[in-house]
Symmetry: D2
Subunit: 352 residues, 4 copies
């Protein structure tokens, strides 16, 4: 079957892989909607490690093509949303209380385009289908459902990890699609003032539509000073990091109030060592938490996202700036994500 | 000075009390906006205990008239919102971790029209002003701020106590003003489907405007059966009780899913003993919590409510169905609250 | 193979069942140590529902005899502890955030002697072995490990659900083996004063060895009055129910302080409807929670219990008052549990 | 009156200050037991900022000498324990939900030898006595109570912030008196294996008496490697920092398991910027929290510590290695804390 990803020489392009095999607990999915993610670009650039001969992609909606003998809740023909994190639910880590649907190790439950081929192929494999798929309810737009794979649960997870409370002031640094979902999520969680930090006009406009109180730029003076000033002089109650560079964590720690939380969901890779400014961290005694979070795993998180769409609490399709049609458009979608033209937030490819 | 409440023979009417004395930590407030509450009706009816010669009322916005020598953050002329719960912040209970701003005993920090005169007088007394008042920000409508005294924080507290999570199904039983704030709060906290239970058309309409997915009636068959059916057959994740009768708790326990929470903020008084149906409570082993909550105390909770108004996350003025003018309208406002005509949610009296 | 339980006419005795079949994810265990539980007596008495032809028992330590083709972490010959709650880890309920290792419904993940044969047979079946078994570390006494199946995790779960904090006063009503583990657990969680409630001298002695500050009797006046008096007049911070009768919940609610938690782990069956005294529950507004909990499921909880034994934080063998030898002693062990002679806490049967 | 601290030229010695004035909410205490703390040495060394003419000390037990007119719960002659953190309970920060008894800013509620004179004087001042003092129960050794001022609540706060659970593996880096209380606290909270990190033989011996499973040295190879190896290869569930140098945070982050928590209660001052190794922090996506905590404030925390002493859950007097007698011994006690001879953990001075 045809797939899009890293070829045998490590360049980006089409690969020809056998259709994946379906184990007794698993499902094979035929995607109907795909979306490339910045993470795919990172894998392609070798920022994590050097890979070849690998199908990319971890955001898909599709139709069940085959299920294993032990699968009970899904059958061929079902339209499903697929979380980007698909744990092995028999691994001990899943039972760990502070992690939401992760198995062993750090990102081991993130399997697409990592431990195995990703979703950008005619068929892809989902482990433990009963636990790692979600039915798309009638009336839910598959394009919206596509955003439940990674953008929504990651952005909303940041809000949960930040323990956003009623009336709190929340800063969201970075207004790529995950940051925008964090903005929408902070509003949806009951924040008062929500300060988004970013520069792209189209993303800023969407941030305002999702309820940001204002969008400020990285470029207008020191970010931490600005956030402190805007937030009553004491700093935001919570700072969510969904973008930025090697200095962002230090700036977030400088900005947040005593007793606050800095929650990161950004894939940080631009440096080996982050600087943590000790005085700004209250000499380690200011009740400030620095939390590093990740997209939760499993079909129930996806199902919760689909409920938010179904009951019109959030409209993730505002993220979709580019809609391309058909398999042959995949390379262009990928290049869009890599090039990030000013008006792009999230491209999707509609397959049928 | 003139006050409205219980006269020396226990009937409802005007009383003449001396202006309250201001202790060193306290403030004297001149109200500009008042709202009677069902609780005032209850006190007047002697449902709690028999009282005479007592000013009623615990929902007010006003202007600081006098402050004690040790008050630092407020001065005469300040426009303030006043929480209905004003703890003694030096009492040990305030330091209790599971209670939000309560001092000793059960409702001891609820002082207006209970341990002392209420707010329906030309002047009223607030203990520990620095901790128990909140400045009203520029641009916040005082009528909206008036709802931050009790309706908003009680309704939103129910949502916190119920630990409403993203995408969850929440039932709110009772759509008086507190129940409506619980509906709005559940939506604001990220619930998916929100099922309101009530019968009054005007309140139903407001429930829908606050984001209820539907309003069902107590009268259309057994409530618990209906809630279970609507909520995927397993029952709502959370059930909030903000109204009802002696059977409501049992119905809520019957309805809620295993692992769910029933959160009560209703003043329950229609019976001495509630029935807890054991089988429906999973024989005490279904991980179902029954939680009894109360309006949190202190000016910071009020300040958080004002932030929600300031940043337009919630518009509590939808609750206000009747606006009366001037001191002489107070008896009529009280009678409205007692009589509850079909189109009434919340009456207010504007004093200047 | 031979098993002990309910015969085809519903009486207690030996049954002859085929050796269970091992599915691809499962394991077949040959028990080496068994212990009957009060729950077995209840099943035998038909208190839950009428059953016939069912092997009883859910507390076992044993040796793996066979594993399914997909089992990775266990192999024949391994000595294992078996939790009494063995969820289906692919069911959606497992991903529910407030429940610890439960699948669908109320007690559906409690499968032994319920949905299938229990452990009192030459061989028994464990579903999803990788997730539902725990290796017994070297140096851990199998008799102690046997208590990790139900007594320890249920007693300690009560302590978790009660959110016992440093220095708090905790009452534990009922000093059967689960209550005794709750006493030990409260001490191990940092409680200050721990008041055990019970009457049996041998259990009282063990309660004191586990760190109870005192043991009081149900018989010396009204329990709630006594608990309030002992606990500074305000009542214990937390009340754990691990025994009692139809009035125990009401008494616990009467006793606990405002802002406190009543946590039940008792199988309540002596009435259809519990009485919840409204005034004592603070009219539903005293921030008092009533929580109904159950033994958590899965091998990781068992592994945590084994760590507590391995590092000598708790010695559950103090519970074991009667040690019987060999298969033929099983009926006597069961009769002991049913008759509950004064000196009995927990009988075990050692099979080899 | 005589006090010990920083003289007008900034050297350590005796100062003569007027007896402090008692405000209406306050108390004046005559200390009976004092203990110098490493923090006093830091202030004397000017590590925080340069101070002169300041009485040192924040750990005291004493007798109430005078109370303000508004104080209700204490009277002259009462024997009291005094928390080192004494918040202004009317400041807004006290109502902040994530901070336990702190008022404004980072350490603003830490007032002794900072915003005002410390406790090492014939008399010292306590603000808001009703909220910031605790009666010492009959039978509680005042020497033990002295440890409730700072050592116990700081060490036990680390354990709370680390969310230590039943059976978890906990590493405690640093076995000064706070670290030793963290060891005792981890055991008291239900940890399984507790690995203490330190080198001083006398402290190591006390760590073992408090229940450490082992004491390892900073010197035997890389600490993070060693902790990972000891803790099943995956790293401790929780790492508490109560000592160390500029590299300790990085080592803790390297050691802790995915999903774990690093909790700091150490006063970090040996560097301006901490290094946070990004790969070891799971690229910010491993659900690892880095939390900076501080001693909680207020008399109720002290009261909880006294309960732990009263009910013999913890014996903090194991910390006391040097007992000196009388006012004239204060300089020697201070010098001991500054010089830290090998056999010293905590010196105290008994004044009558």
């Amino acid at each position: 079957m045809r797939g899009f990803g890293l070829t045998s020489d490590g360049s980006v392009g089409w690969v020809e892989h056998p259709r994946p095999t379906c184990g007794p607990l698993d499902a094979i999915i035929r995607p109907t909607h795909l979306s490339p993610c910045t993470s795919d670009v990172r894998v392609a650039h070798g920022w994590v490690d050097s890979r070849t001969d690998l199908v990319l992609g971890h955001e898909a909606v599709g139709v069940v093509d085959e299920v294993g003998a032990l699968v009970a809740s899904f059958q061929p023909g079902d339209l499903v949303a697929v979380p980007c994190v698909t744990p092995d639910w028999l691994a001990p880590g899943v039972q760990h209380r502070r992690r939401t649907g992760h198995d062993t190790g750090e990102q081991a439950s993130y399997k697409f385009a990592s431990a195995k081929d990703g979703v950008m192929a005619q068929f892809f494999h989902v482990n433990m289908a009963d636990a790692n798929l979600a039915h798309i309810p009638d009336g839910v737009d598959p394009e919206a459902a596509l955003m439940s794979a990674d953008m929504m649960p990651t952005g909303l997870r940041a809000v949960e990890v930040a323990e956003v409370g009623f009336g709190e002031t929340v800063a969201v640094i970075g207004i790529g699609p995950v940051g925008l979902m964090a903005v929408a999520g902070a509003v949806l969680r009951g924040a008062g003032r929500v300060i988004a930090v970013g520069t792209r006009p189209s993303a800023s406009e969407v941030a305002m539509r999702y309820g940001a109180s204002e969008v400020i730029s990285y470029r207008d003076g020191r970010l931490s000073d600005k956030l402190r000033t805007l937030a009553d002089g004491t700093g935001p109650d919570k700072v969510i990091i969904a973008g930025g560079d090697a200095e962002t964590l230090a700036e977030a720690v400088r900005a947040v109030r005593a007793g606050g939380i800095v929650a990161n969901v950004n894939f940080m890779h631009s440096t080996d060592t982050l600087n943590l400014p000790l005085s700004d961290w209250g000499l380690g005694m200011a009740d400030v938490d620095i939390r590093g979070a990740f997209c939760p795993g499993g079909g129930q998180v996806t199902a919760a996202m689909l409920k938010l769409i179904e009951y019109e609490r959030i409209d993730p399709t505002l993220l979709i700036t580019h809609r391309l049609q058909g398999w042959d458009a995949l390379p262009e979608a990928f290049q869009l994500m890599a090039a990030k033209p000013p008006n792009l937030i999230k491209p999707i490819v509609i397959l049928n």
